[in-house]
């Protein structure tokens, strides 16, 4: 039993229907939105981030691929999932998500192809491993033209794809509408939720980029650039600040208005003491650390532990935000007279172990993707 009545009256069919897996799903989507936005910033506005373009693109792919996992595991009939494409209901946010997801996936794949096209062609001609050479030959799609004219065209197409991908990624973040449109749930039914969700996601994506930058520069033996860290940390700071401010405003508005749902929301919040504390204390700590990181980077110094702690904190805080949003709202019964508690099971399809597997999945895929599409020159890695 994962749902237990704690206090008051709840409708007899009430359960926490969406568990820890559906917490991970918007969490991954948040990270994708943030990473794609960092990529778009690099492509369109901040040329100093050009160095991390390839890194961000290859790192986005495992997250995009993994975003489907929690959904499929949560479905009662996962073998019918494709019905979303065969008999879609366009008035359903979930059905539209299916279309947006495919758009995001294909634009990302296209972007990767154009971004790595020159590398792929070179590998197809020089790779000594026969199997890899065959793979690269297939990946060229028969196009071996790497003349200057062709590369110029590639860059133009990348810009167009980045624009589409950015829109798709922000639309992906509209997964928050999936919750926001549920008018019967007072916790979800707020105008602020979709906006704070996007900002939280942007901060999480920035934090993930920072962490991956630390990891990849170490693995490839590349010198870290303070201006890259400073720029990404600065964006993450403002995004985090906006998310934190919006969440706080939302809570204050609820508490002040004291409508019929507030009494039960207040009580149910006791069940969320830990994630709420993480959200508040973690946000403040991350904001402080991020500003310090920016300050140090502007002096030309890189404090790796501070960057790592700030990034991990943001990722934990955004996870706590998603937990509070998905689980917290379901603790309240629609009778608005009682609430339940939720403890995820350890085993099973919707259990903690499965959830952990889903969380780890992108990091298992990432080395494979990075092996095929190295974000930095291979010779540097070989030199290590």
């Amino acid at each position: 039993m994962t749902t237990t009545v704690v206090e008051g009256f709840v409708y007899p069919n009430h359960e926490v229907f969406w568990g820890v897996l559906i917490v991970i799903y918007p969490y991954f989507v948040s990270i994708i939105t943030g990473m794609v936005t960092v990529y778009a910033i690099a492509e369109f506005w901040r040329k100093e981030l050009k160095d991390i373009e390839k890194l961000v693109v290859i790192s986005s792919l495992p997250f995009v691929l993994s975003a489907l996992l929690p959904l499929l595991l949560d479905l009662g009939q996962p073998q019918r999932a494709f019905e979303i494409y065969l008999t879609p209901n366009f008035s359903s946010v979930m059905a539209v998500f299916g279309i947006v997801y495919l758009t995001e996936l294909f634009t990302l794949l296209g972007e990767m192809w154009f971004l790595f096209r020159v590398d792929i062609v070179r590998m197809a001609q020089t790779e000594s491993n026969k199997l890899l050479r065959l793979l690269y030959r297939i990946l060229t799609l028969g196009v071996y033209d790497i003349s200057e004219k062709a590369i110029k065209l590639d860059k133009k197409i990348i810009k167009i794809l980045t624009g589409i991908e950015l829109i798709a990624a922000w639309c992906l973040s509209y997964v928050s509408f999936l919750f926001g449109v549920v008018k019967s749930n007072p916790w979800w039914n707020t105008t602020i939720l979709p906006v704070s969700f996007v900002f939280g996601g942007l901060a999480a994506g920035g934090a993930m980029v920072l962490l991956l930058y630390l990891a990849f520069t170490r693995a490839y033996g590349i010198e870290r650039k303070p201006n890259i860290i400073s720029t990404v940390a600065n964006y993450a700071f403002y995004f985090m600040l906006a998310a934190f401010a919006l969440e706080t405003i939302n809570t204050i508005l609820y508490a002040y208005k004291e409508d019929i749902a507030w009494a039960v929301i207040k009580l149910a919040s006791t069940e969320l003491a830990v994630p709420l504390a993480i959200q508040v204390i973690g946000s403040l700590e991350a904001l402080l650390f991020l500003k310090y990181v920016c300050y140090r980077c502007n002096l030309g110094k890189i404090d790796t532990p501070f960057i790592a702690i700030a990034s991990v904190t943001i990722l934990v805080v955004v996870f706590a935000m998603r937990w509070n949003m998905v689980i917290g709202a379901q603790l309240i019964d629609y009778s608005l007279r009682g609430f339940v508690s939720y403890t995820p099971p350890l085993w099973g399809r919707e259990g903690l172990i499965a959830a952990l597997g889903v969380l780890v999945a992108p990091f298992i895929m990432l080395p494979v993707v990075a092996y095929i599409f190295p974000p930095y020159e291979r010779k540097l890695r070989a030199g290590l």
Partner: protein, 234 residues
């Protein structure tokens, strides 16, 4: 056919396909609950379970007891529904003099005219029939549970055996053969009424002033109407 004409035909055809919906039948079904007549015996819940093979601890219909008390202060509201009211209700542990009002309220799917559950289903597995009944195609449902989240009345449940969502159908298999839903048939006091909107006994009841629907602020337009319930019922 010229190209221009062909494109015009295609466009008009597409518009017609997307915009024109089948006309709704005038014979829509409605359901009326007279709370004054309900004695909380639970016969309806048992009959529903037997008729529709509802799994244990899940309910297509249930009965709630409302007890409003006051000991000189503002009203206290106590609501309960032990086992969905299937086995009746125990004695009240309240001073009788403090009770302002106490009554039973049967609940079920409201078969809304603007059902949020239908709107959110990603695969069109749930829909509203010409007779106004909201149904689920269990062989098509993907079990995403989004409709359960969207239902403000808690009427939908997840069938953990079949791994799909289920709910009250007003016993569609019976009403389409001219019978009444199982819960209406077994109610010993006639607290549950069912019929077509144009039926005389339904029209007579709907003309009463104290008739109301639940959660009207959500604009779901339920087709289950309640008579003689207090403001505390939603």
């Amino acid at each position: 056919m010229k190209r221009r004409e062909f494109i015009k035909t295609i466009m008009i055809g597409s518009l017609a396909f997307f915009l024109i919906k089948p006309a709704k039948s005038k014979d829509i079904f409605v359901y009326v609950v007279d709370s004054k007549k309900c004695i909380g015996c639970g016969s309806c819940v048992k009959a529903c379970r037997a008729e529709n093979h509802v799994p244990e601890r899940k309910y297509r219909t249930w009965v709630e007891r409302y007890v409003v008390t006051s000991n000189g202060e503002l009203e206290n509201i106590f609501v309960e529904s032990p086992n969905g009211g299937e086995f009746g209700f125990g004695d009240l542990d309240v001073d009788e003099n403090e009770i302002l009002r106490a009554y039973f309220v049967p609940k079920l799917c409201m078969h809304c005219d603007k059902p949020p559950c239908v709107k959110v289903c990603p695969v069109n597995a749930t829909w509203i029939t010409e007779e106004g009944v909201v149904l689920i195609d269990k062989s098509h449902c993907i079990g995403c549970k989004y409709c359960i989240q969207a239902c403000p009345y808690g009427a939908r449940y997840f069938n953990h055996h079949e791994k799909v969502v289920d709910k009250c159908t007003w016993c569609y298999h019976r009403i389409m053969r001219g019978m009444r839903p199982a819960c209406v048939t077994v109610c010993p006091t006639g607290a549950r009424m069912f019929g077509k909107l144009q039926d005389e006994h339904i029209q007579k009841t709907l003309r009463e002033r104290n008739i109301r629907i639940l959660k009207p602020e959500l604009n779901t337009r339920p087709k289950v109407f309640y008579e003689n319930v207090g403001w505390e019922v939603w």
